[in-house]
Amino acid sequence: MGKKKMTSNDSKEEVIPIIEIDKLIHEPARLMIISLLYVVESADFLWIKRQTDLTDGNLSSHLSKLESAGYVTVEKSIKNKKTNTSIKLSGGGRKAFEVYRQKLTQILESTKN
């Protein structure tokens, strides 16, 4: 039994236009941040900074964008007279990342043919 040959119509149906990819997540630094937050429950600003090697300003700016989109929740509290920022991926952010991964995988798969 041979494999089913893919017709040009089949491949057209499977192709997802790259424009549909979530650009907010697709940016490398934000992709790193979201990927890290996807595999943990929550993390503070410093932990993400160390893991991503981003500067304070850069990380802060990317987090603001993700927070504005509702992808992450940022909670600030005072611990031992120091500001502590706890960051968590929101339900919407988690879903958006899963959709992003799915679409990207499909696009990459379709390029193989």
Binding site: V40, D44, W47, R50, D56, K82
Partner: protein
Amino acid sequence: MDLKALEKKAWRSVFQDGIWDIYFGLLFLGLAVASFGDIFGLPSELGSMIIILCWNSITVLFLILGKKFITIPRIGFVKFGTKRKKLKKRMLGFLIFNLILAFLFLFVNLSGIFERLNIGGLIEPLVVGLLLITIPLSILAYFLEFHRLYIYAILFGLGFFNSELLFPLVGSPLDLFLSQGLIGIIVILIGSVFLIQFLRKYPSSKA
């Protein structure tokens, strides 16, 4: 994008500071120090128990304070997800099973079966070390994904066996002190190297 690998890398960053190594080294060194249990003028068993209790309390305090004042200010704080919580439950299950096995062994040992079978001598401290130290620590190493702990588990497990070998040469309690204390000190030194590397790599951050 391998998310599993990313999670593992993040998890393993917990052990890069060497504080866990120093903690285990100190715990084992405590066993060596406890061999001088009679310094209080108390019966040696009671003195040893007091020393172990005090020593272990200080060791646990070192781990907690070390993480709080050395690690977190340098690499930040992270809460891991449900997968790690499930693993923790499974680890506890295995440790309880191991504890039951250890009790069974002690019960069999007390019944005198080993003496009747004439397999005492060096076999007994080897089995004790394996059951009470090597297996539980290996279970911890597996679930914590703390790979250096496998080596420590073997070294610590051989402690009783080594002391039995040293006994004819140096007598008691120096046999215990030398065999277990030396391994404890080696592990503390390994941990210190990791700690120094960590402190150099991650200077204290005010963020």
